[in-house]
Subunit: 482 residues, 2 copies
């Protein structure tokens, strides 16, 4: 394969400087751009199209579980934000405040929503009266603002796009079922749509959402061994209901508080896709989320029949439901290959005069560079199969990476050694005391990521806290995180 | 048809109080709700689902013309807003200002976007260097904030949802073509998707967008004879490009300014749907935009077979691509009918034991109340045809209403009489002087809606300005507007 590297600006190798590699990929694949609004990013067409595909898939899955979309105001009056004590403490320090509307000073300042629990509570308080009004299973697609000091595209910016689901239920059991259901939905979406394996678990009290009784999370491992929180689902119990007075008359004629949940996934998942799947040549997009799944590249395109046949292949792919484009620009094939690899298209199809003569074309995988020659009339079918293979292989590769980067520690020396020398998750027992969490964070910049669900999260007879040595109560996955 | 009106709160008749009728419909069809954020509305599931359908259709049509979606920051630094003189004068009085991020005062305050021309210009200035970078045909779906003093749901609120397209072109001709193309797209969408007939034309200089060289508009007539601006498309020429320094090297190696356009459509179109199609029993949704197109109502649903057969009909409709639901709640049929009529579902299907015995069911149109008996195995096919008929009939009815409410005036006395006594558009020639526009607005609360495209907008030999009597230069549609 003739590569014309000079024509494509080079990307810093991952092994040399992972942070710079990330920045290079984001920029050179034209996912984001900048304006004079500092700390904010522009989602350019290539970046936004990834989000649109994620949105469409998540929205479909949400609606299958009975979710209804709504849209609430982007500004929250200060008195509303303050109604739930833990919540305001968690968010007030990082919100943007609107103090003037036009030239008039507002009688009460309003913040740009950092999240919308308080507004949903305000609405539910007005709308919920009877058990007949329950459950409410609402979701909104919007952006939120949090005044971050240091920012990185997709991972931490002053504004990001997300969905936030907010539900109200008649019973604690129903709220818990919804909380877990949405976490499982996120996990399945991450694994089967984004090819990102995740660990499901519960956050410690220190790490849970401001105002929640329980926060469940999915955690993924990036290529550099750092963790990324990929989606969270919160059970609020009746805490917000009590703060906001959300009561209903139940079937037994008793006045009761509702039980609430919220759950969200954000554009930071685009960052996860980059850092889990990308390589030194740029982005690699899993086929299911890729806006362009296959690019057809004519070789010696001025030779008779080449461009026509390439267009026919593109059309056959599109007819088969594959998101395919034809690159008939006047660049050299080598330039196109490098450019397309940087942009992460999962596969390309090459067709030249020789292929034409043999009635064939060549499928080239972005992930492995493997080339597969197929007959022209089989191109669409084979491309469809190959995309499925690539999707599965990307997941398997990421899964193997995750599994080979989970290390166990049963004492602080081992824990410290792993934290300093082996990037990945550290599986270690914990007493349950926040003091130990604080010490580990201070000593090693490592935080508790989650207490895994099921057997994995159980401690066993004789397990002791990896930090203080007292009796352990929980098994925790720890890690350095984005 | 047994109606159980008492069970459905009554709606104020249109003839009695149109504004109250509108408020009643919006509330009782559960399109919007309120929170403590004053002047802002909640888009509830029934309201938001209408917007989702509009979005999906517009987005598909946009992409067919080469539009790419992006997302830009919601906050604009003050210095950026101020770069184009007319623009800042138009918008600064009505924007919300953010002065604090967390507890820190910002070194420069930022406004919540009222529209995003300035940000797109900022991005284009950085990204456009060569003719190879053109055209840029970007669009974003988002919400904007304008600090309105008096608000009405959908029509005028402090925040609304919209799309804003922003393009940059190498030539003035190309920009003009795009401006007109998008206006035509809006007109076709309004007429063929929302069944709302519109008048296409150009705004006078007084009424055009702040900073535009030309603003094109589509104007519709509501049931009460007031006009509603439904979508606008602006040609900026190179005014913004000069203010922001957006230059490119053309094929001839000359440095040139780009030519820009912008165009938008908003959630106020939901208000248009209500005010064009609704009647004294509530909302009437045109089938193409209706989230629920058909509701199946079992009569005596406890009788053997009724509920099963109703479910089968619902399934057959869904299989035929019709958005159908089954109402098997324990309410009486009469209650359901009134409730469904208020919510504007375009049609229902009634199935009772007698129908079952005869192998038939009854289709009932929301718009005309006409009942059509069809055999059960033809239900889906006939329902599909009927929905198309309803769509067309709603358009025809609205078109007839529009045409019968256009009045011509060639002198101020006639003009005044029409303005005071005949709600609708007034077609009258104008000299082109803003003084006359101001006088008409002051005297009669009537504004120039547009100078219609084509023959309609032409004046003829001897036409004189309806206000000052001087030689006319343009034919204008005038009206009272929302």
């Amino acid at each position: 394969m003739a590569k014309d590297k000079k024509l494509v600006e080079s990307i810093t190798p991952r092994s040399e400087d992972f942070a710079q590699w990330y920045t290079d990929v984001v920029k050179k694949a034209e996912l984001t751009g900048y304006t004079s609004a500092k700390g904010f990013i522009v989602f350019k067409p290539a970046g936004y199209a990834i989000w649109e595909n994620m949105q469409a898939e998540l929205d479909k899955r949400f609606k299958e579980t009975g979710v209804q979309n709504v849209y609430l105001p982007m500004l929250i009056p200060e008195s509303l934000l303050e109604k739930e004590k833990d919540h305001v403490e968690g968010f007030a320090p990082e919100v943007a405040w609107v103090e003037h509307g036009g030239s008039n000073k507002l009688t009460e300042r309003m913040c740009v929503r950092p999240t919308s629990e308080t507004l949903f509570c305000d609405l539910y308080q007005k709308d919920i009266h009877s058990y007949r009004d329950l459950p409410k299973i609402y979701n909104q697609w919007c952006s939120v603002v949090r005044w971050e000091k240091t920012t990185r595209p997709f991972l931490r910016t002053r504004e990001f796009l997300w969905q936030e689901g907010h539900t109200a239920h008649a019973s604690a059991e129903e709220a818990e079922t919804r909380t877990v259901r949405m976490l499982n939905l996120y996990a399945d979406f991450a694994e089967n749509f984004l090819a990102i394996p995740v660990i499901k678990g519960r956050k410690t009290d220190k790490e849970k959402f401001a105002g929640a009784e329980a926060t469940y999370t999915i955690e993924a491992l990036m290529h550099d061994g750092k963790a990324l929180q990929c989606g969270t689902s919160h059970n609020f119990g009746d805490g917000f209901a009590k703060a906001f007075g959300i009561q209903f008359t139940d079937k037994d004629n008793q006045l009761k508080y509702v039980h609430q949940t919220s759950w969200g996934m954000t554009t930071r998942m685009i960052g996860a896709i980059i850092m889990v799947h990308g390589d030194d040549d740029g982005l690699i997009l899993p086929p299911r989320v890729a806006p362009t799944q296959c690019v057809v590249v004519p070789i010696q395109q001025k030779k008779e029949g080449v461009l026509d046949e390439a267009a026919k292949v593109r059309d056959a792919l599109k007819a088969a439901g594959i998101r395919a484009i034809l690159d008939d620009s006047d660049r050299s094939p080598g330039w196109k290959f490098s450019d397309q690899e940087m942009r992460g298209f999962p596969m390309r199809i090459e067709i030249g005069p020789k292929d034409l003569a043999n009635g064939q074309c060549v499928l080239v995988r972005r992930d492995t560079r493997e080339k597969i020659t197929v007959s022209l009339d089989q191109a669409a079918e084979e491309a469809g199969k190959l995309l499925e293979t690539i999707q599965q292989d990307l997941f398997d590769r990421a899964k193997a990476h995750l599994e080979s980067h989970i290390f166990s520690a049963d004492n602080y020396e081992t824990f410290t050694d792993i934290a300093n020398n082996k990037p990945g998750f550290i599986r270690a027992p914990w007493c349950g005391d926040v003091e130990c969490e604080n010490k580990i964070k201070e000593d090693l910049a490592v935080t508790s990521r989650c207490i895994p669900f099921g057997e994995e999260g159980q401690i066993h007879e004789g397990d002791t806290c990896v930090c203080c040595g007292k009796k352990a109560t929980k098994m925790v996955y720890w890690g350095k995180a984005y």
